[in-house]
Symmetry: none
Subunit: 133 residues, 4 copies
DNA sequence: GTGGTCTAGACCACT
DNA sequence: GTGGTCTAGACCACG
């Protein structure tokens, strides 16, 4: 269900956070539902449990899930709302990057065209393995 | 003329590269014009000369400037063209981030609105010091 | 009659111990009175019988109840006295936390005010699920 | 300058967070000042660098310090304000524990007496190595 | 030198 | 079984 890219500049634990957020957004992990256990998912992804623990801790910090030691980790009731809220914050980042592009000589019209061409799929977002910042 | 944020996730040398590119685009550094010397600029910015050296090396690698041993470092004649070219590559990154936002529940229309609201200014671009990946 | 929070940092069995102590203090569980059976209460609370067993064992260890094999588990005659005694020990913990607050910039006067504002109610005490140590 | 108790129930990294907060509060770590490096302090305390990294990450999350990769970690300008703010939150926890004590048969007057007897010192706060929750 | 990430492997308490 | 913490040791990029 999740896929990671070990060679990406984006840390593995962040890739996992992003992907789980996407899955929650898509309703594939529902509120109150248990997330995969640290050990099980670590084995499945072929990564160290500590790395996954870090990802889960971050999700918990954001209020997207809660851990119940001894019994598991569960998606928060208001997880979707939290994600939508944080998405609003990311708009600033979006505008920043768009501004950079515009300063580089790309027109707003070209950016709007690029937006239209996007089709949403489900995969690891924001992979930027190349060294072009 | 340049400003750096040592707490940004973006490496200092990349911040400098971006900003010099912006200045070139805006015509403030003109082709054939000399760039500030490593030592002088390092002092001005309060950073390590090695860091600045790295930034200049990156600019050279991209073909934006050339060093003339003994007399300094000069903006390339085709610097603007090179920047425009590389901007096209960044469109992919732009689409990736936009896709991420859309998966998070933001509509394309909202993104287009955000684009319209942008006014190009001159500052350090792409500061992403926050922990919102 | 009892309520547990599986997401609390406080182990479930400790939550139960605390709450039963509170009920004893309030006279809702009287000396010589029988406590609910492990199986029945486990079902009612939706928890594992082993967890409840652990809570009862702890109560016995403290001398708050005694098990009479075959006929159930009963509140000790001196349960209230035992609880009062252990409360004295907790004063140290109280002072430790108060000291921490004072070091954080809160005045003793504010703490006294906070004390005055307390009204005793009946609920799960000491829930500290937040990440404020 | 810092001291940890490896046998405490409180995780080492939380002990460090608390103590550094105290030191900031006392003005021993001043805003803009660099904190000890991860490696150096880990050696000094005899703990693993990862553990310290976790503590520092938590401080950063709270907004008490900022890391500048490659050059160090610095106390935030508004660190003291942040600590004072979070102390206000802790008042709720304080009231919760006080309420528990009162339900256990201690009078408010006794608590006020306990408060008066406190003298603020500088040491690891909240050590609760015993198993009396 | 700095911080950041990751792996491997262990131990603990709780359910 | 679950999550949480810790150690040991390694590698990387950045300054």
């Amino acid at each position: 269900m999740l896929g990671i890219d070990k060679f990406s500049r984006v840390p593995i634990y962040e890739q996992i956070v992003s992907q789980i957020e996407t899955h929650i957004m898509l309703g594939e992990y529902k509120p109150e539902q248990a997330l995969p256990s640290v050990r099980a998912l670590a084995v499945e992804l072929g990564i160290n449990p500590n790395t996954l623990q870090k990802a889960y801790a971050e999700l918990e910090r954001k209020g997207l899930c809660q851990s119940a030691p001894g019994s598991g980790r569960f998606v928060s009731r208001d997880a979707v709302a939290v994600i939508k809220e944080q998405a609003k914050m990311k708009l600033e980042q979006f505008k920043s990057i768009a501004g950079e592009l515009i300063r580089s000589g790309i027109t707003k019209e070209e950016l709007v065209e690029a937006l239209k061409s996007i089709t949403v799929s489900l995969s690891a977002p924001g992979r930027e393995g190349s060294d072009e910042a």
